[in-house]
Symmetry: D2
Subunit: 331 residues, 4 copies
C-alpha cells in the first residue's frame, strides 16, 4: 500500500487509449493535429485566449515559464521551500541563464504580500543587486495548501504594482481546484504563466505550460526546442493532456486523490501539520509509530524527524486509504 508519491501512480486508462489512438503517422514535433488543439482546449478551460505547450516534466514547465518573465540578471521571489528552489537542481537558473531565486518565508510554503514585500524591501543597492522581476507561487503549495482567489488577487495586485510577472507552479493545480471547488480560471487568476501538471494526475510524461499572454508562446517555443524538449513525436504528449482535459478527467482524478487524502486525514486530525487541501498529508509521527505503520505494509517518506509525508493519487484504492486511516487511529 503505497503513499510515497503521486509520481508513482499509474497512467489512467483513458490516457492510454488516447495515446494509442495517436499512434498513426502525423506531422512531427508539434505540427500534428493534437498538438495544434492545445491552445483551444486550454482557452476553453480558462475562458480566455491562452497559449499552451506540452513539455515532459514539471521542472521543464516551470523553468520555461519563468523565461517569459525574468532576465538573466533578474530575480524571482519564491518560498524558501518552493519546488523550484529545493527540488529542481538549479533548473530555473539554467533556463533563465542565471536569474536568482529570492527566498521568502511563509507558513505552509505559501507566500503572502507581506512576505514578498519583505524580500523586495531588501533590494536597495541598485545595480549591485539582482532586481526582482517575478513572483512564483505553487498551487497547491509544497505542503498541500491551496491559495484562495482572494489570496491570489492580493499577490497579483502586488505583482502589478511592482511590475513583476507572476508564475504559478501547478504541479498539483488540479488538486487545488478540486479542493477550492472553484473554476480553473479562479484558481489561476492572475498568474501570467501556469505549469499545469498532468503527470501526477493520471498522465505518463506530459505537463502543459499555459501562457495567459499568448504572445509569449513563440519565445517558449524557441526555448523549448533549445532545451531539448521538443519531442519529435509530440502527438503522444498532446494526447495525454487532451485526454485529461476531455470530460473533466483531470478534475475527476484530482477529486479521487483528494478524497483518499481526506479519508486518511479524517482519522488523524490531531496529528496533521496542515489542513488537507489537496492530496498531501503531513503527519506528526514518531519513529516507533512509523515503524508500526510500515510493518503493516504502508509505504511513505520521512519528511524530517518529527513528520512524515503521505501522498495519495487518482488510483489510490479506497480500501488502502481506509486501512491507513484505521491504522493511524489505532496507534
Amino acid at each position: 500500500m503505497q503513499f510515497l508519491s503521486d509520481n508513482a501512480a499509474r497512467v489512467h486508462p483513458k490516457v492510454w487509449a488516447a495515446m494509442q489512438a495517436a499512434d498513426a503517422p502525423d506531422r512531427p514535433y508539434d505540427g500534428d493535429a493534437l498538438s495544434q488543439r492545445l491552445d483551444a482546449a486550454f482557452s476553453e478551460l480558462f475562458g480566455r485566449e491562452v497559449a499552451a505547450l506540452w513539455v515532459s516534466s514539471g521542472t521543464a514547465a516551470n523553468s520555461l515559464a519563468l523565461t517569459t518573465m525574468v532576465e538573466p540578471h533578474g530575480g524571482v521571489v519564491c518560498h524558501r521551500e518552493a519546488h523550484i528552489e529545493m527540488d529542481e537542481c538549479g533548473a530555473p537558473g539554467f533556463y533563465t541563464h542565471g536569474a536568482k531565486l529570492l527566498l521568502a518565508e511563509g507558513a505552509g510554503a505559501k507566500l503572502t504580500p507581506a512576505a514578498i514585500e519583505a524580500v523586495l524591501g531588501g533590494i536597495t543597492r541598485g545595480v549591485h543587486q539582482v532586481p526582482a522581476q517575478a513572483i512564483s507561487i505553487t498551487q497547491a503549495s509544497e505542503y498541500g495548501l491551496a491559495y484562495r482567489p482572494d489570496e491570489l488577487a492580493a499577490i497579483g495586485a502586488l505583482a502589478q504594482a511592482q511590475g513583476l510577472g507572476l508564475h504559478m507552479d501547478g504541479a498539483r493545480f488540479a488538486n487545488a481546484v478540486a479542493a477550492l471547488n472553484c473554476s480553473a480560471s479562479e484558481a489561476a487568476w492572475p498568474a501570467d504563466a501556469l505549469s499545469f501538471g498532468c503527470t501526477k494526475n493520471g498522465g505518463m510524461d506530459a505537463d502543459a505550460i499555459v501562457l495567459f499572454d499568448p504572445e509569449k508562446a513563440d519565445l517558449v517555443r524557441w526555448r523549448r526546442k533549445r532545451g531539448g524538449h521538443l519531442q519529435s513525436k509530440g502527438r503522444f504528449l498532446a494526447a495525454q493532456v487532451l485526454a485529461l482535459l476531455e470530460g473533466g478527467l483531470w478534475l475527476e482524478n484530482a477529486r479521487a486523490a483528494n478524497g483518499a487524502a481526506g479519508e486518511v486525514a479524517g482519522a488523524a486530525r490531531e496529528r496533521l501539520l496542515y489542513p488537507i487541501e489537496a492530496n498531501e498529508i503531513f503527519l506528526k509521527l514518531d519513529a516507533g509509530e512509523r515503524a508500526a505503520l510500515r510493518a503493516q505494509g504502508f509505504q511513505f517518506y520521512d519528511w524530517d524527524d518529527a513528520v512524515v509525508r503521505m501522498v495519495t493519487a487518482w488510483d489510490t484504492p479506497q480500501e488502502h486509504a481506509a486501512a491507513l486511516g484505521k491504522a493511524i487511529a489505532a496507534l
Copy 2:
C-alpha cells in the same frame, strides 16, 4: 504513402507492450527496476562496461553527452551540416554553456581526419580563440552514410593524439549497424559517448546516452535533472529502450527500414545523391517529377531545388516502397 520522416512512424507493438507492463507503482525518476537495468543492458550490447541513461529526445542526448567532454570556453568540431549545428536551435551551446561548434567540411556530411585537421589548424591565437576539445560525428550521417570501422579508427586516433573527446550522434545508429553488418561495438568504437536513438526506430519518446567512461554518468545525471529531463515516471522511458534492445528488436527494425530504402533506391540508381547505407534516400528530382510523384500519393520533403529527401521507417509497408520505386522508375 508517407516517406517524410522516421519521426512520423508508429510505435512498435512490443514497445507498447513493454510500456504497459511498466504501468505499476515503482520508485520515481530513475530509481525504478527498469531504469536500473539500462547499464547492464548496454554493457552487454557493447561488450564492455558502460553507463546508460534515458532521455526523451535526441537533442537532449547530444547536448548532455557533449557536457562530458567540452568546457564552456571550448569548441566541438562537427560537420557544417551536422544535426547539432543545423537542427537543434543552439541546444548544444545551451547545455555546454557556450561551447562553440567549429564547422568542418566533408562529402555526405561525413568528417575525415583531414577535414578535422583543417579546422584545428585554424586555431592559432591562444587564449583569444576557443580551443577544440571534442569532435562530434553522426552515425549514420545526415545524408545516410555510415562510418566504417577503419574510418572511425582514424578519427579516433586523431582525437586521442589531440586530446579531444569523441561524440557520436547515433539518431540512426541502428540503421548504420544494420548497413555495416557489424557489431554495435564496432560501429561505435572509439566514441566516448553515443546518443543511441530509439524514437525514430520504433520507440515513442526515449533515446539513450551511452557513456563508454561510466565515471561520467554522475555528471550527466545532474545535468539531466537540471535540464528538466529527469522524468518522474522514468520507468516508461526505460521500458521503451529495453524493449528495443531485447531480442535485437532495434536491429530488426533498422533492417526493415533499410530494406525499404533499398527497395526504393534500387529503382533509382542514377538519381541517387549518395549510396544507401541507412534509411534515407536523397534523390535528384525536378519540380515536375516531384509533382508527378505527389500526385500519386507519395509524401516527402524537398531538400533543395534539385534534391528531395525520402525516409523510410521500421513500419514502411513493403508495398509502399515497391510502389514508390516503380513510380520513380516510370518518371
Copy 3:
C-alpha cells in the same frame, strides 16, 4: 621600430593628465562627476541623444552591446573573420548566453547586403534553427577598410526590413572617421550600438559603449556590473574617454596613425592586399623579405604565409614610418 599593434602604443599625455586630475575622492563606480558627463559628451559628438558607458576592453564593449539586441536563442550575422568570431574566445556567446554568430563572407572582412541575405536565406527550419536577430559590422574592418555612409545605409535598410539590430565594432572607429573625412555620426549611422574604441587610440584601458537608443542603457548597466566590469574607481575610465573626446584628440590621434600607415603604404603600393583606409597595412611579403625587414629592426606580425600585418598608432614616429617605407621599397 614596432609596427606590431596599436595595443602596444603609449598612453597620450593628455590622457595621463586627465587621469591624474581625476585622482581625488569622488563617488564610487559610475556615480562620479566624470562618468556622469559621458552621455552628454557623446550626445554632442553624435548630434543626437545617446547613452554612453565606459568599459575596460573592446571585447566587453562588443559583448555588452550585443546583449541589447539578441536573445540567448538568437543569432548575430557577422563576417567570418570578424573580431567577435575570431579573437574574443566566445565572449559574445558568453554575454548573450548562447547567441550564435552566423558567419558571412565578404572581401576585406566587410559585409554587404547580399552577403547578409545569403546567411538569412539559409535560415528556413523554424524553431529548429537559431533566428537571426542582429548584424555586427566592424568600422574599420579587420583589414582596415572603412564602410562608406552609403554602404552603411544599405546595410541599415536591410536590418530594418528584417527587424534586426545593428552593432558596430568600432575598435578603430576613429581611424575610419579620419579616413572617410566625415562626421562621427555619418560613420556610425544607422548602428543601434557602437563600441567606441579608445585604448588603441591613446587611451590606457577604456572604451565606450554608445547606445543610440538610450533606453537600453539600464540593461547594459546591470549586465556590466554582472560581468565584473563596473570598476569601483570608474572616474579613471571616464577621464580617459573624455580626454580623448575633448578638443577632438581622438580624431587627431587617428589622423596621425592613419598618416603613418599612408607613409608606409605609399612606398609599397603593389604589395598592398587592400587600400589603406585606416591604420593597418596588409602586405604581400615572402619569407626572405620579412627577414630582411626584421634584420633592419622592424617589428610586425605574420598574417599568413604570404601576408604580413603592420599597424601604426598615434605615436608612431614619422621617421619610423618613413624608414619602413624606404626599406620596403628597397626590397
Copy 4:
C-alpha cells in the same frame, strides 16, 4: 572629510610612478614583462609556488576564482551577507554558469564549521538539489572582522573532509593581514584561490587572482579573456599590483587605513557593532547623531536604521580620523 569607502581613496604615488614607467611599447595582453613577473612576486609573498593573474575588479576576481572550483550545477557555501551574494548582481552565477550560492549564518558575516555544516546538512535530495562544491569566505569579513589562522584551519579541515574548494574574497586581505600581524600565507591558508584586493588599497583598477594550485591558471586565463577582462595593455594593471607588493607597500597602506579606523573607533568603544580588525567601523548612531556628524562635514553611509558604516583608507588624513573620533565622543 570622507569615510564613505576605500573605493573613493586616491591612487598611491608609487602606483602612479609604476604605471608611468610601464608606458612604453611592450607585448600586448599579458605577454609583457610586468605581467610575466606576477607569478614570481606572489610566489615569494606566499612562500610557495602560486599562479597570479591581474583583473580589473574584485567582482571579476571572485567570479573567475570560483570557476576553478564549482561546476554549473554546483553550489558555493557563503555567508548570507557575503559580497558575492549581496553586491555583485549575480556575477558569480554568471561566471560559473549557474552555480548557486548556499547561504549560511554567522555573526559578523564570518562562517564557522558549524554554520557551514548546517547548510551541508540540508542537502539530502541527491540529484534534485545542487551539491555543494566550494566554500567562500571573506578576509576581512563584510563587517571588518579577520579570520584567525586557527579559524581558517578549522574551515579548511571541513572543506578537505567534504571535498570542497575554498575561496577567499580578499578585497581587504591586506587589512586583515595587518590586523592579524601574521604573514600573508598564514592569513590565506588553506584557501585554494584568493582574490587579492589592490584597488581599495592604493591601486587604481587592478586586483589579483592568486591560485594556490598553479595548474588552474590556464582555465582562468581562458575565462578571463572570455569575460572581456584580458586588457590589451595589461602592463598597466601588472604595474599597479607589483608596485603595491614591492617593499611591502600593500601592508604599509593597510596599516595606515587600519590605524585611522582604530583612531576613530577608540573614541567610540561603546557604539561599536564589532571590534575593529580592519578598516571598517560599524557604529550605532541614531538619526540625530548622524545629522550632527554630517553637519560637521563627515561623510559616511547609513547601514540600516540603527547603524552607520565608516571606512578609512590608506590616505585618510590622520587629522580627519582624529576629528571624527572627537566628534563622536562629543555626541
